[in-house]
Amino acid sequence: MLPAMADDDYSAQLSWQSQSKDNLKVLMDNFSPQQYDRFEAYRRHALPKQAVRKVIQGATGQQISQPVAQIVAGFSKVFVGEIVEKARQVQARRGDTGPLSPDHLREAYRMYQEETGRVGAARPLRGKRLFVR
């Protein structure tokens, strides 16, 4: 079970959410059809919760609750966005066009790790696969 949220935090989030809604409406009112289509895709798709849960359980050896898996799936989706955006920058810098290539992604991920520092694993995880696809 997740710990209960303090009332202060809850109402702070509530007012932030309502302000965000207004800002979002202005943004969406100004989308081109292509932008709207892409934004819809962004909103509609999430990482599959069960798959994320399996990955976490495999990595920690623990039973993971559904809410926690949902949280990890949520911010991991943001991570995907960060990599794709960076990959687009890599692509532009190289003067490439069209769909992103694996190399764009790998370069983006390399840059991401450099900029953020490794999440902090004490032992090297490189090349160590926990699952075989």
């Binding site: 949220m5 290539s101 999440v119």
Partner: protein, 92 residues
């Protein structure tokens, strides 16, 4: 990936690489969060700490937003389940 800026039809090998990177990332984060040991159960607080660096601000904010939504649902349910809404013998 299209939602985040890729082509309407991303290259399939690119998608595969994204999945590999993503899995590595999730493993990285949760292992860091649980402090490398299996003893203590992975908690939200552990994840908060793992996402506490400035570079992870967006991810942390998303986590708080999701926690809020889960809390929202919990509170709405608690209100619905109030005992005086279902008086004894009401047949509900």
């Amino acid at each position: 990936m299209y939602g985040f800026g890729d082509d309407r039809n991303p290259a399939s090998d690119t998608v595969n690489v994204m999945e590999e990177i993503l899995i590595e990332y999730i493993v990285d984060v949760v292992q860091t969060a649980s402090g490398g040991g299996k003893k203590s159960r992975l908690s939200i607080e552990d994840l908060r700490r793992a996402l506490s660096r400035p570079a992870d601000a967006k991810k942390l904010a998303r986590m708080e937003e999701l926690l809020f939504m889960q809390e929202d649902i919990k509170r709405a349910r608690a209100q619905f389940d109030e005992p005086d809404m279902h008086p004894a013998g009401s047949g509900l």
